[in-house]
């Protein structure tokens, strides 16, 4: 595939998640303005930070008059899952120039990560992954900034925008990505364990339960995978 085609395919494969992100962007813009941020700051955060859930948490904390260090620490903790994402992408970027890696890092979101790992799962030998990745990333980014601007403009005209239950679109999109990826027993166990553990830790502060959950579920997955691998080795010796 040519780079341009890969770029467009990346954007196209992200389309369901872009649609899911539209209401989020609008709500963010409206919420930030409601919580006392200026128009330019609301838009600048989407332009320069580009981190959906961390942006929501930050503007919520701004409204509760939290101190700046508290807000920043929370943003950092909420973003730590992206460090796991980036670490898992390491084998695919080792030959790339740092500028391209930095661009990819800036566009690293739950959505683009989900779409890109899905693609890697289908075609591990794919050449030109950065093009695919950047197509997905730029589409998410452009949409996010535009929807923030829309939210700033519309904010005051839409009542109770935050009570509509808009995050359901994101949930069903993630389900559409995770479920087909579950093939081995270890993967199923990892997913089930993550679900249960996330519920048990849901009231931990600042999404720390999410990180704890990830560590527990990943450990379960690895242990079961190793056990399955050693079992097949034993049977093949017989």
């Amino acid at each position: 595939m040519t780079p341009a085609r890969l770029f467009l395919t990346g954007a196209r494969d992200t389309l369901p998640l872009i649609l899911a992100a539209i209401p989020f962007g609008i709500v963010y813009g409206a919420l930030a303005m409601n919580n006392g941020l200026s128009e330019w700051a609301t838009l600048a955060i989407s332009l320069f930070v580009f981190a959906g859930s961390a942006q929501f948490i930050a503007v919520t904390l701004v409204a509760s008059a939290a101190a700046l260090p508290v807000i920043l620490l929370t943003v950092f903790v909420v973003n730590l899952r992206h460090m796991l994402y980036a670490a898992s992408l390491m084998p695919w970027v080792s030959g790339l120039p740092q500028r391209l890696r930095a661009q990819m890092a800036f566009w690293l979101t739950d959505e683009t990560y989900a779409v890109v790992t899905n693609r890697i799962g289908q075609d591990p030998e794919l050449k030109g992954l950065p093009w695919y990745y950047c197509g997905s990333g730029l589409a998410m980014y452009g949409n996010w900034v535009f929807c923030t601007w829309l939210g700033i403009s519309l904010g005051q005209q839409i009542p109770n925008l935050t009570d509509w239950g808009l995050d359901v679109a994101m949930v069903v999109a993630f389900i559409g990505i995770v479920v087909p990826a579950l093939q081995s027993r270890a993967q199923w166990a990892c997913a089930l364990c993550a679900g249960v553990c996330a519920l048990l830790t849901h009231d931990w502060p600042h999404q720390s339960g999410l990180l704890f959950t990830a560590l527990v579920a990943i450990t379960i997955g690895v242990v079961l995978e190793r056990r399955a691998a050693s079992n097949t080795r034993e049977t093949s010796y017989e």
Binding site: V49, A87, M90, V178, L199
Partner: protein
């Protein structure tokens, strides 16, 4: 609240964790065990986000059939399992959610 400081701080603390592992790729060798563990990251984190967003409503766990998120998630899960199509999954999930909100 100093908005410029807020934005600069958020930008730094968002970009940093995203970039650090990518910057180090190729310079540090990832041990095979860690590499195996990292392959479980998408399933682990996305499943955790799905479970929390579906079942935690207003800070409480709501696993009742009256929770429209749960109905949408189950419908989406079944669709995803059998069709393996992202668009179909999202469409069915949203339709079931809208129907549940309207009927319940």
């Amino acid at each position: 609240m100093n908005e410029a400081l807020l934005i600069a701080g958020m930008a730094l603390l968002t970009f940093g964790p995203r970039y650090l592992p990518l910057a180090l790729a190729g310079r540090v060798r990832i041990p095979p065990l860690l590499e195996q563990a990292l392959r479980f990251v998408p399933i682990a984190v996305l499943s955790a986000i799905i479970a929390q967003t579906t079942l935690v409503r207003n800070g409480e766990i709501d696993a009742s059939p009256g929770n429209p998120y749960l109905l949408a998630a189950v419908a989406a899960g079944v669709t995803a399992y059998f069709s393996r199509q992202l668009f179909a999954t999202v469409a069915v999930g949203l339709l079931v959610y809208a129907a549940a909100r309207w009927l319940l």
